[in-house]
Symmetry: C2
Subunit: 286 residues, 2 copies
DNA sequence: TCGGATTACGTGCACCGTAATGATC
DNA sequence: GATCATTACGGTGCACGTAATCCGA
């Protein structure tokens, strides 16, 4: 069998055209390369070069050999990257979530339970979450409803109730509860990374204007400093994140109250069993 | 990059299941293999094995790696054989010939003119010769007529006239000349390796019986010892191969007199120029 | 006790770099 | 003289084998 370094040397020579150029590319001395080429010919027992004292050129054999060399080297490189990718995928848990709130409790839980694995998470929409789960891009997802799929294992893991946060002077601030359609055509401060809530706002308030903020700190400061309505939830309020100069009004739309479901493939159920048990005891939103 | 020997070792282990079995297969010590596997893991920076003190097993990573190893090794093996085949094809001249006689002069000519190349020859029928030439299976053919193809270069290279060799007592032995159809329904001694002459006999004498001999010596001895008619030619007669106890009668059929053409691809004309020149001076049948 | 895996240690080969030579422009 | 390829020579890394150890059936 031919050593891989011989193929690398041949490939370099085929690319560069001269031994000296190739040797520079390979960080190698010219004599070393010269010997490699000789050895390659010897191993294959085939003439690969025409030697004109001062010039080395590939024969037809040589170009054929170089083509093979490229293919083999590419395949080996592919092997390395693919195996590393495969390994990394096996030692990372990818979590997809429909909203940011469940992640806040789920991520610490996972890192605690699987200290040897790295955990990644991203927000995504319902259908993408389910697709990603079945395709293996996610091992665990949090959906805003029960997927009811025979291949999936799902467990309720908490609730979240949307509120509208209004300044006391706002005309709607004294209502005990509202519907989203009551708020249509208003302007809102909206943090961008809120998952499926964003869809809900767009759908229910097609005429509203959303002043979208990508930076969480900027968003909070604007809420503080402006009289613009914004959204919050019972979870956030319980966490004490409601502002004293704001009145939080319940939203009665059925979609404004969500039950989160933690979902994995049935085949992964055993692996995630400890997580499901912990959630059974104390859910992700309490 | 991973050294090829590491892949070979991995492949062997994947096939054998234990280091000791694989080491035996590789004619290698167990420790050497053990180290190879460790090095492979180190190079890939990935766990390939589960180690149970006394048992070494491939992980999923490992089986994936082994699959790649097989592919790479196969590709490399393929490279070696393909290049050697390609080289051999380039340093052999394959000659196809419609009859044995022209070969007797052509082969020495070729070996003399191209001492570095190996020459192979075979008898074949006209169409196969032309197909073989265009497909590269032959570089040079001898056809029984001018192929008249614009991509081919052809030159007459000799003639051969068929004779029927009869014992003096044979009823037809005193004719100055005969046609093949005159001989139909007789029994003949026929040497098998005579190229297109065989076709001719079958066509012109559908009722004749041919006692076919595969061994040249046996054939000649039977000609000597029996009273059965057989075939010969002017070339053979000039060579002094006619038997004293036989009368050779000319065959008048136009097909019984053939002009041979030496043919090559126009693209190879330059390469074979010396051969064509020599033949121009003294042809293959004189 | 045997078979399988790993560790420890010494050795030889093979690949490398430096230096020198040959050859062509 | 500059560039390119090859040969000669000495050094070193590394893959190997032998021997020893550990562990489980």
């Amino acid at each position: 069998m031919l050593d891989i370094y011989l193929l690398e040397h041949l490939a370099a020579f085929a690319e560069c055209g001269t031994l000296s150029a190739a040797s520079e590319k390979l960080h190698l001395s010219q004599p070393a390369l010269s010997r490699s080429m000789q050895k390659l010919e010897e191993c294959l027992a085939v003439k690969l070069f025409t030697r004109q004292k001062n010039k080395l050129t590939l024969t037809e054999n040589g170009t054929l050999a170089a083509q093979y060399a490229f293919r083999i080297l590419a395949l080996e490189q592919d092997m390395i990257t693919k195996i590393r990718d495969f390994d990394r995928k096996n030692r990372t848990i990818s979590v997809g979530c429909c909203a940011p709130v469940p992640l806040e409790a789920l991520m610490p839980l996972l890192t605690y339970q699987h200290p040897e694995m790295s955990i990644t998470s991203e927000l995504n929409y319902k259908q993408q979450l389910l697709d990603g789960l079945s395709q293996g891009n996610y091992q665990l997802i949090v959906a805003p409803e029960d997927p009811k799929d025979k291949d999936l294992y799902a467990l309720p893991c908490g609730n979240e109730q949307l509120y509208i946060s209004l300044p006391p002077a706002h005309p709607l601030a004294n209502y005990p509860a509202l519907y989203l359609k009551d708020l249509d055509s208003q302007s809102f401060l909206l943090y961008s990374k809120i998952g499926f809530w964003y869809e809900l706002c767009i759908q229910k308030m097609p005429h509203a204007k959303f002043l979208i903020q990508n930076d969480r700190d900027v968003f909070l400061e604007l809420v503080e400093a402006s009289a613009l309505p914004s959204f919050t939830s019972d979870v956030k309020i319980k966490q004490g994140q409601s502002r004293p100069n704001r009145i939080n009004v319940l939203l009665r739309d059925p979609e404004a109250s969500v039950t989160y479901y933690l979902v994995c493939k049935k085949s992964d159920k055993h692996f995630f069993q400890p997580i499901f048990e912990k959630i059974h005891d104390s859910n992700l939103t309490s």
